[in-house]
Amino acid sequence: MRIPRLGLSEAGGRILAWHKREGDPVEVGDVLLELETDKASVEVTAATAGYLGRIAAPEGAVVESGAVVAWITASPDEQVHAGRPSPGPEAPAVSPSPHQGATSGWVRASPYARRRAAELGIALAGVTGSGPGGRVVARDVERLARGSTAGRWREAVARRLQATVEAPEFWVTRTMEVARWIAPLAQHPQVTWTDLFLQALAVSLPAGSPLRPQPRSPSGLQVGLAVATDQGLLLPVLALPSDLPLEAIAERRKALLARARRGQLQDGDLGEPELVFSNLGMFGVDRFMALRDPSAPVAVAVGRVGEGVRVEGGAIRATWLVEVTATVDHRVADGAEAARFLQQVARYLEQGEGARWSQG
């Protein structure tokens, strides 16, 4: 049982809790453990059924993705001998001697590396050894620790910022009229402006469009939702097929946010976003620029939906307006393409045949 590759990060994370004990039966999909990554807390589920054998990485341990954290065995009594990992670069070395059965899962590591790992809260099973014969030595632990302990959240944000600062970016803002949505949204209190904007984005960025040249997932547009939690800024990913009804969007979004706030994100919640969406309208913000993720060529920032005026043919008309700002990676798209993208969004919101509701 290895830590899956979690979205954009290969750094792995810290095991917050094990949900199964050694010897417990395990079904495919059972949540085995909660992992805190630099982006979120993730529930890691079982990919095979069987019995949880030896746990190699205890709670609190920091593990790299790909690290063996436990073994799933075919029968409960296989436990003692379990832990013979499949051969592979990250497989912890164990002696084939039957006498060593109880210590299977043993990682070849120097005593000093063990001490440093304990001090830094890092699971040796998750460390790739660079010493003779693949032995984990102190420098391996320390290298991992630099990217994985307490400062992880801030470091992650800094890394993202760094990555985006290094990229050439530009910003495009467009004011959109959303008066026609006031009544329907009022009728569907479970659906929010965010859901509406999300649908607009999903519809406006079909696969192959300049800002989404290669779709990352068949499950639809991968929208990273910037969520402020107690633990900091998270970026769980919502998969949005372009035909998803608003209620379904609302439902999925809420579930995702709830998981994010509870720190219980699952593997699928942590893909690489194609677009980062951020709405600060509820805080009264008129306009802002959202930070992209290095993997997303565009970030969309939505401000407050408020009453304003439009002048049409010299006549002033009161209506409801919102400012939408796109942060665009210039290496992927140019200004005109970005403008056309916002035009699409505006067209959907202002003139489209109307939102897709699941009923009615």
Binding site: S110, P111, Y112, A113, R114, R115, G131, P132, V137, A138
Partner: protein, 327 residues
Amino acid sequence: MADWTYAEALREGLRDAMAEDPRVIVLGEDVAYGGPFGVTRGLKEAFGSERVRNTPISEAAVVGFATGAALAGYRPVVEVMFMDFLTLTLDMLVNQAAKYRYLAQDRLRVPLVVRTQAGVLQSAGAHHSQSFESWLVHVPGISVLAPSTAGDAYQAIRWALRQPDPVVVMEHKALYGRRTVREPAEDVAAGWAPRATRRRAGQDATVVSYSAMVYTALEAAERLAREGVEVEVWDLVGLSDSVMDLGLVAEAVQRTHRVLVVHEAVRTGGFGAEVAARLQELAFDGLDAPIERLGAKASPVPFSPPLEKAYLPSVEDVCQAVRDLMA
């Protein structure tokens, strides 16, 4: 005197001790004529042939005699010309001298000093080159010193002659002519005790040695420094349980996380094994690599110069061992 040789230092140690304490006597083959390495030169002239006694070639009987005289309150210093001949004295050292204090419950003591000369130099060959310290340290009741500098050689003699129990001072034939600066404080005999001494500071690896190999280690450290590896070199000076304190060396291990023990004696069963065992006891969680040991090849000491050269750990061997440790 600005500097002195190792042999001069030993001689002065004996001379000063004899002048201070009439119970100190010197025995050995040819000691009245200075001995083959000149260490006892001039002592007979200064103290007479009653106290500087030439002996027949009877190593066992002489060490036994000295043990009996020590039991009666003398402080005999026996020179066993080559450590190889220590085999002949082992019964006396191991079964008699080392046991007395224990068996007599402190009512009898054996303040005996055996000076002997070990080590490989200039094709002395299979019977005149060996280092047997690990045999001696295995015997509780005997202290073993292996000084590497003139200052420590002087102090080793003075210290040994203050002990109430048997001490073997292991000298090295390659060191007798080595000059070192004479520190003024070295004349103050009373304060000295054998203790591990840092001969060079460094943060990447710790090399532990004693006797002549200290110099090989220091040379290796200079070579490694040019490669960017800074090696700390420790000189144990005292080897037996009674005099060995690896506390400071263990602290060094906690800083450098890598240890190499180097000695002239054959590696298997050599003293390095004891050092390695103790350091892992003291600093286990400070070790980032297995403790390495470097010693002579598992062979009788060869005669022919190229064979002899290949037999001992070389400067390059030490360098390579450290590089391997750093891998």
